[in-house]
Symmetry: none
Subunit: 212 residues, 2 copies
Amino acid sequence: MTIRLLLVDDHAVVRQGLKMFLKAESDFEVIGEASNGVQAIELARQLKPDVVLMDLLMPAMGGVEATGIIRREIPETEVIALTSVLEDSSVIGAIKAGAIGYLLKDTDGPELLRAIRAAAEGQVQLSPKAAARLMREVRAPESPEKLTERETEVLRLIAQGLANKEIANSLSIGEKTVKTHVSNIFSKLGVVSRTQAALYAASIGLVNLTHD
Amino acid sequence: MTIRLLLVDDHAVVRQGLKMFLKAESDFEVIGEASNGVQAIELARQLKPDVVLMDLLMPAMGGVEATGIIRREIPETEVIALTSVLEDSSVIGAIKAGAIGYLLKDTDGPELLRAIRAAAEGQVQLSPKAAARLMREVRAPESPEKLTERETEVLRLIAQGLANKEIANSLSIGEKTVKTHVSNIFSKLGVVSRTQAALYAASIGLVNLTHD
DNA sequence: ATCTGCCTCAGCCTTTAGATGGAGATATAG
DNA sequence: CTATATCTCCATCTAAAGGCTGAGGCAGAT
């Protein structure tokens, strides 16, 4: 029985490489590729893959968000987060969003194969480092209160350097409303300025920093 | 005649993938892998590869520095910078260090092959985007006017989320002075708020975003 | 000796940011 | 039906941010 895979990464080289690497395994079949979260969701709907290898840091829509939507809509599809960053909220976010695995990109080949096979059977597979993070989190739920959808949207705009007035125009709401959201975001994130909030957003990959 | 390659990237998955991808090409042979700049230099000395695929963002020693050393010591080895970030100083830095090519990781497979073959023959190959950067740089050294040492210091603190008063204390200077620096930084960078400046600083790696 | 760039600081001004408290509307869960 | 959460908006106020102009000290270059 072959394991049908969907690859999601914004770097073509990484996708290409993974595809070639996985092709050597007879029980794997790459049935689709996506370069961002939106594409990933579309393809997941159409193809209903067994396992999704999901990069977390992507433009358009982050991997965490995409993971959540895929898991809600297609629960029989398992998602493995595959990322280069090891960051508390990413780990927790990905797990909470329903990822069954969290692997770092410096994982070696054999371990990657093990993880995919485990995921296809619904078994959990984490990088040792990621597992350590998770442990730390459970012991000390310093969970930054979860932002609402709207707040996340506002934070994203803050992290693009927009002023409150610009955010208001962008979302077609009042500046006062934006201020309310901003204040709520600050207290939830435990920061005291929009700059800190923007840096936090950048650190968890909510925005794309590369200015092309 | 086969092209002998050295792969340098801190992510094992990326190396693994590249290796598998390149294996399909009969005129390529991957003769070594390194996960950081120091290893890369050692291996380049021993193996004298035709082409080095060099990631720029690595621990221990960055790719730019490693490129410079390799090119000085082993001029017959060509280096292609392969990176996920497109940043002015990286492009310029890599080129100045002697890289014959600068490719983004979202380059597709065929273009990557073309670039490696071109490099092996000593021909220049740049990503269109990278080329555009280079052109912009040469014709209009509007390179975001270079910041002074002090300004860079202030920018770094801005990018750590500090307020002007905190920066003043941190540097043992007056808040007014800080404001002067901040204003100068803004006009040099072409931004209008400290948040935008902080994001710019983060995007060029002036600060470490991962709060581990 | 003069010029130039950098760092330092000042005053004055307008705009923005952020805190706080209150409030109406809708939707959803229990 | 009634909490609860979310989104929306308003007013008020203080603090911070940022623009603008001017200016003194200091080092290195010409």
